[in-house]
């Protein structure tokens, strides 16, 4: 009896005991195990099996090793999706970030109407994606506003097939994503800029630093953690992006605008090729993991240099 009490006193009544800490963590751990760890490993196992509708339900699919991956990497649709994801991610990030950064710098100064305009910049972010992507789908249709405008300005002589030309469509959806992603970059960078101490600018000005020198030697070094975070989150969001492409083109025409995410969904739930769908999703996960690790290395290096 006294032993038990002693144990209880030692582990449960003492708030600093590791057991108590663990008990507090337990709900979250269970949640993560059920909703993250299990699906993650299930997905990996799925990608090594020949899983169609029947075997998905019975749970008795045959192991087929790397077949799914081999089939994917030799499939031209997958290759296009891989290329598209690269185009989509790189160009989205470059333009979202640079435009967001420029806007953040502009709004860092006080000028009349600054608050109202800052609110307006945020609008793309407030709109549900289904609304903005559907609107763009109409804008870029054959008789849409974009072609109408270009035609009336005599810049083009025939409508451009923004969403139906297989070589153009990925650029059109990338453009839409850039527009939608600017506010996210803007907000974080703008907040970061507010933290740059004013006296540093003044000191630099006294020392005769020009505008771009201030940017390069004061703003960017101080903002570096923010910049890295923005880029990392942006990369992850963009690589697994799904909505815009799905709403605007469903990966078409003729599979020319698929990203890895839309292709994975299509394979699994349109074509019922669960194994292939899972393999596509895993390729995406591996790419994201590698990039996040890369970012981690960069930011560690920064810390080491300090």
């Amino acid at each position: 009896m006294s032993d038990l009490r002693r144990l209880k006193n030692k582990y449960l009544s003492n708030p600093r005991s590791p057991v108590v800490g663990f008990l507090f963590l337990l709900p979250v751990l269970i949640y993560i195990a059920i909703y993250f760890v299990y699906p993650f490993f299930y997905n990996i196992s799925l990608s090594y099996h020949d899983t169609d509708v029947v075997s998905f339900v019975s749970g008795k699919s045959s192991f087929n090793g790397l077949d799914n991956y081999i089939e994917l990497f030799t499939d031209s649709t997958f290759q296009t999706a891989l290329k598209n994801t690269a185009i989509f991610t790189v160009f989205s990030l470059v333009f979202q970030f640079s435009i967001g950064f420029i806007l953040a710098l502009v709004f860092n100064r006080d000028f009349p109407g600054e608050k109202v305009l800052r609110g307006l910049v945020m609008i793309p972010w407030f709109l549900p994606l289904i609304v903005s992507a559907s609107a763009y789908r109409f804008f870029f249709s054959e008789q849409g506003i974009v072609n109408g405008l270009l035609l009336s300005l005599k810049l083009i002589s025939a409508p451009i097939n923004w969403l139906t030309d297989p070589s153009l469509v990925i650029w059109t959806v990338t453009f839409i994503n850039i527009w939608i992603g600017i506010p996210f970059n803007f907000v974080l960078l703008h907040t970061g800029l507010k933290d740059v101490p004013k006296d540093l600018y003044e000191a630099a000005e006294v020392d005769g630093a020009k505008g771009w020198q201030r940017l390069l030697y004061i703003v960017i070094p101080i903002l570096k953690p923010v910049i890295l975070t923005v880029l990392m989150m942006g990369t992850v969001y963009t690589i697994k992006h799904f909505d815009i492409v799905w709403i605007a083109t469903q990966g078409g025409p003729a599979n020319s605008s698929h990203l890895l995410s839309t292709l994975s969904y299509k394979l699994a739930f349109r074509d019922y090729e669960f194994g292939l769908g899972a393999a596509t999703a895993n390729v995406m996960v591996v790419i994201i993991l590698l990039l996040v690790l890369g970012f981690g290395l960069i930011s560690n290096e920064r810390r080491a240099n300090r």
Binding site: V57, S58, A254, N255, R270
Partner: protein, 410 residues
């Protein structure tokens, strides 16, 4: 003491309530049904009304509805099958019957249909749509197909007095109807089942075959549709248009003729379009269009208790009799029984071409590779898109597709 008596009273009430519900549930059988019709749309409203009529006539059966968006329906059924938690009745689109039957999600209804005894009164296409490997697995009380919808006002403007009947006429009519912002003709060619579904009447009427796309009759059908896009009588955007989009363009007056289904008629009428409906034009005069048949089918869960299965069947047979008339009237669809279908023309004359077409209705998966149909369809529509956007010629597109399909269906 007082506290105790309150406690006792509460306990007594509780016991009474519990015994009461137990007693009630003894008389009333509750069955659940998973369907794809949202309450706030006309189909959902019609469905609710029909269910209510049934419940009033059969007070011992109570139906609980579970709405599932159509895009998630098959996924959900598969998961529910895996966990053996299927609702008593589930809804599935026709092409999904084979693999859901294979997956064990659908109860074999052979005995039930034998007792019902009116199998032969169902349209042949509808019989095929609910059968897999010779056994019925579902019930279909509402069907539909495609026809040519046209805008009579735009016809008048172009000096046309009747709908086109042959392919040559369709091309000629489309040419005359294409002016300014208006395209003569439209269909859906988006990368979903809709593209195959809209292409099928042209393919089959010409003697083409989903399992033999490289044969000349199949290629001709694709060449025919590609001509419309090439000549500008049909918007290139059709590769991004689902059926809903096609209907919207039609009602905006931007499309003069379209391929569409009977469920779309009320929408055009409400929008004030002077609507005409005709059978789908055929390659040569005197031929009958071979159209694909659609419409949801309803199946019973193999995991439900025999008692619930009987109640579910009672509901479904009612839908094959009295309920069939009421529901189809409400949603502008066609009854699946030959003896009942013509009756609907009296109140809805625009449905006449549909009822006539259904005699020659073809079920997609029966002629399109069975459980492989969805894959055959995917390959086919990608080829259709490639031809329509001019990425490759119709012949090359279908030759490649035929090769892929051959590998799939041996």
């Amino acid at each position: 003491m007082r506290r105790r008596s309150i406690l006792m009273a509460m306990l007594l009430v509780l016991v009474l309530v519990m015994t009461n519900t137990v007693a009630l549930s003894k008389n009333v059988i509750e069955i659940s049904i998973q369907d794809v019709w949202a309450d706030n749309l006309s189909w959902g409203r019609a469905w609710l009304q029909t269910l209510k009529t049934f419940e009033q006539l059969h007070p011992h059966i109570k139906i609980n509805r579970i709405y599932c968006p159509i895009g998630q329906n098959v996924e959900r059924i598969l998961l529910e099958t895996r966990t053996k938690s299927l609702p008593d009745i589930i809804t599935c689109d026709t092409p999904d019957v084979p693999h859901l039957a294979e997956a064990g999600s659908l109860l074999d209804l052979t005995q039930f249909f034998k007792e019902w005894g009116k199998w032969d009164d169902l349209f042949p296409g509808s019989q095929d749509a609910i059968s897999w490997k010779g056994k019925p697995y579902a019930v279909q009380f509402t069907t539909n197909t495609l026809a040519l919808h046209y805008n009579k006002d735009l016809f008048k403007k172009a000096g046309l007095t009747r709908p086109p009947e042959t392919w040559d006429e369709l091309l000629e009519w489309a040419k005359r109807l294409t002016t300014g912002d208006t395209y003569g003709f439209a269909f859906s060619a988006i990368d979903t089942e809709e593209a195959t579904w809209h292409f099928a009447p042209f393919l089959w009427s010409n003697g083409g075959d989903l399992l033999d796309l490289s044969k000349p009759e199949s290629v001709q059908a694709l060449e025919f549709l590609t001509t419309f896009v090439k000549k500008g009588y049909t918007s290139r955007d059709v590769v991004n248009w689902n059926q809903g989009d096609v209907g919207v363009q039609f009602r905006l007056g931007r499309v003069a003729m379209m391929i569409h289904g009977c469920w779309d008629i009320p929408l055009s009428e409400e929008a004030g379009i002077n609507l005409g409906v005709a059978k789908i034009p055929v390659p040569k005069r005197g031929m009958n269009p071979k159209v694909p048949i659609g419409g949801e089918t309803f199946a019973i869960s193999p995991f439900s208790s025999p008692e619930k299965q009987m109640a579910a069947w009672q509901f479904l047979t009612w839908m094959l009799e009295e309920g069939m008339v009421e529901f189809n009237q409400l949603v502008n669809n066609i009854p699946t029984r030959r003896s009942i279908a013509p009756g609907i023309i009296q109140t809805k004359p625009l449905l006449q071409p549909y009822v006539e077409e259904l005699e020659y209705g073809v079920n997609r998966f029966t002629v399109g590779g069975g459980e492989n149909y969805t894959k055959v369809s995917t390959i086919t529509r990608i080829a259709i898109q490639k031809a329509l956007i001019g990425q490759t010629t119709p012949e090359k597109a279908f030759k490649e597709a035929a090769k892929q399909i051959k590998r799939l269906v041996k």
